[in-house]
Symmetry: C2
Subunit: 461 residues, 2 copies
């Protein structure tokens, strides 16, 4: 990982904290009212903030020239579920080298971005569990993996159509036609690079955690703006939405034991040994008891979207592979998410049953063609960890965005303040925004990314 790739890293990337025992994500913890400090908006580590400020404004540094894309504004709140913040974030400019310079990996080649670079922007949120170690590693690593993966295919990305052969000659005269027929476009290489970067980062985290004797995992939500498009890659239960004047569009979907039930049950069907005889892969409305034996009860298996009835046998009384409902649903009684990074060592309590084969590091990538949108000044992308979405719906967030931005057009800090305000509205102020004044007790991170800019193309190619 070459230093300096990021113009700025906003969140602690220093020495990792000492090893801590894993704790399942969202497991019940004694409630402590989160400390909430209004960010001054003047940048990270504000004067009135404590050593580890609970609210940490994250802002792209002013660089003298206008960035083609505003770099986004974030707020993070530590609900003090753990000593260190389990939410981590990163953002910055993404510079992809377009030609080989040799092995000068460590040169400070980022000072300026000449024509040889394809530039974009990167935002990422990582929601850790079992300690902050994986989230910190991901915040320090994933952008490097992504840059490497993009540089490996950049030649194809900047071509009108990705060539069948990279750095080589077409062997079959109709190769371009085959590529055309498959509909392979430059954006598919970015999607592939994001998918590979998540996998590579997961491997790095696995090695680093093992080497340092640490544990933990994290979700990952990444947005990348490149060549006029916004790519959103998600592995976990964070969420990104597009908010415009007349539109709210989800840019990601959540991966939880409930949303991925069929994939998880099927894996257990294919490899029953993964359950070590301790769990049943079948889903029932509740955990079955001895009294249910012999009765016909509602159930479903991996190939079913619908429900049916089955006669309860003894093996059905085992603990369910996926148990609980909604926010309480757990994979193997342990984990509330089904995709993410890390957790290589995570096992079901007091057993040797591993979570990892069920837990995937593969993200789902969606593409927003920003150049095709007729952007308005108030069009934004809101990215946030689950703490926000537990309390606010997409529509509620959109309402807050629309009520806040137009009245604050002159305020240069309005996007940052909007991010603060979104977090603020989850902290139990009964302002009628959340249903029944719901309160979030979770760490929360929010990015607000304004899409409007003078020149919409963010790439320098």
């Amino acid at each position: 990982m070459s230093a300096g790739w990021f113009r700025r890293r906003f969140l602690p990337g220093g020495p990792l904290p000492a090893p801590r025992p894993p704790r399942p994500r969202s497991s019940p913890v004694p409630y402590r009212r989160p400390r909430f400090l209004r960010g001054s908006g003047s940048g990270p580590g504000t004067a009135d903030a404590p050593r580890r400020p609970d609210v940490r404004p994250v802002r792209s540094p002013a660089r003298g020239r206008a960035l083609p894309w505003n770099a986004g504004y974030a707020e993070i709140i530590n609900a003090e579920k753990s000593e260190f913040n389990e939410d981590q974030a990163a953002c910055g400019q993404l510079c992809i080298r377009r030609c080989e310079f040799g092995a000068e990996e460590d040169q400070e080649w980022l000072t300026s971005c000449p024509e040889e670079f394809l530039t974009g922007h990167y935002w990422a949120l990582f929601d850790g569990h079992g300690g902050p170690a994986a989230a910190i590693l991901a915040a320090n690593t994933l952008h490097s993996c992504l840059r490497r993966q993009l540089e490996a295919v950049v030649e194809g990305m900047v071509a009108t159509q990705p060539p069948m052969h990279l750095s080589g000659h077409s062997i079959c005269p109709s190769d371009p036609q085959f590529v055309e027929e498959k509909g392979i476009r430059a954006e598919d290489l970015v999607i592939g690079a994001l998918e590979s970067a998540f996998q590579e980062c997961d491997e790095v985290i696995g090695r680093e955690l093992e080497a340092s004797g640490q544990v933990g995992g994290c979700t990952a939500l990444v947005a990348v703006s490149l060549q006029g498009k916004l790519y959103v890659a998600n592995a976990g239960d964070s969420r990104a939405i597009l908010v415009r004047k007349d539109e709210v569009r989800p840019l990601s979907s959540e991966f939880t034991p409930e949303t991925e039930r069929q994939r998880i049950q099927q894996l257990a069907f294919v490899y029953p040994e993964l359950l070590a005889g301790e769990f049943t892969r079948l889903e029932f409305p509740r955990r079955l008891k001895g009294d249910d034996l012999g009765q016909k009860v509602l159930f479903r298996d991996y190939h079913m979207r619908g429900w049916s009835y089955k006669c309860v046998e003894k093996s059905d009384l085992k603990y369910p592979l996926i148990h609980g409902q909604g926010r309480q649903a757990r994979l193997l009684g342990t984990l509330a998410v089904s995709r993410g990074l890390g957790d290589h060592q995570l096992r079901v309590l007091d057993t040797n049953i591993q979570l990892k084969p069920f837990l995937l590091s593969v993200p789902q990538v969606t593409v927003l063609d920003v150049d095709q949108l007729e952007l308005q000044e108030e069009d934004v992308v809101v990215m946030a960890t689950d703490g926000l979405w537990d309390v606010l719906s997409n529509e509620q967030v959109a309402r807050l965005v629309r009520s806040f931005l137009p009245g604050n057009r002159e305020d240069p800090h309005r996007f940052s303040e909007l991010a603060q305000m979104l977090i603020h509205s989850t902290q139990g102020k009964d302002d009628g925004l959340t249903e029944e004044g719901q309160v979030s007790y979770d760490d929360i991170s929010v990015f607000v990314i304004p899409l409007h800019s003078q020149g919409q193309r963010s790439s320098g190619h």
Copy 2:
């Protein structure tokens, strides 16, 4: 299977034809202009029709009283790809017994539908390959399987909320709450019954084909109207759409080697022995050759939606698990669909490699809440095999529906004529309806199901 369940079966269900060697679906066959006879609209086996009429109007028999739902009108054309029509259809009233009568399976209990029955309607299209045997078996069997599966859960279907325990007492006082929290509704039992019925029918077909030394498979598209909802279950590449005045809504999606690439590649990743060292599971823009060795070429694997480059190794030169593009895409070089019934014996030519583990019998079920639609008289569902959709888009079919129906309101046969007209428009008349006057050389079957009726609820409970 109790006789008489169907009020009428419209398509030949007699002795199955003699065993014929399997032929891969949509494999190139010498083109013969399909015989096309205008149906007289007077019912099956019209006077002027040949022994096996190529166009076979299928119509629900008049029964003295108005059916709550019109039963739909179908046209089928045999493109003479095979001696017997590989397209088969079935439709009729569905009577689900609500209480146990004992073992009187064979009594003619269908003469009237008293209160003890839940009634609905059933339409099904089966597009056979490797001969018509599987399609004929499916047309003769699937409705019986479905009836049986529905009768097994009917007690739950007619309850306000399906009970946790069928035919038993609630064991835990909060059982209804668990069911409620899972959001389990009566329609989930119908979905589950459809899923189970497809599986059961697939097993029956496997046994019957083996016993009679026959081979073949078929796609299956089923629509069921029950309790004010329309259920569409699909396994294969047939399609159903809803056409209304201002709306065209797909009610199914196709299952082909292309649409199911990731599932199929993943199965090969999990069980590499299924490929017997003869195929590569990776996707490339074309089949690789010796000249590609050592080059970096575009590829993707099971976990990728995007594309990347890889250095070509010798094993990449094997025949691809999924090869070809669009209509030409084939699973293991053999089959153009990835879901369907039958094909238990189907192997890759001259090998022992089976198609079946990659080929699923599980349907995808979608639900249309007909009672919630403000139905107009011209609202219809169009179900058809791929021969129609190869030539006409959803929008083109919708345009034909909208241009035909309003001007023919007085014609009692208009839905039948519309089905005829849809097929007619695929037969090379350059009427500007299809792009560049495209022609279908495939068997085609079409159901047109009018949704409008006086009383929308089709169930008699």
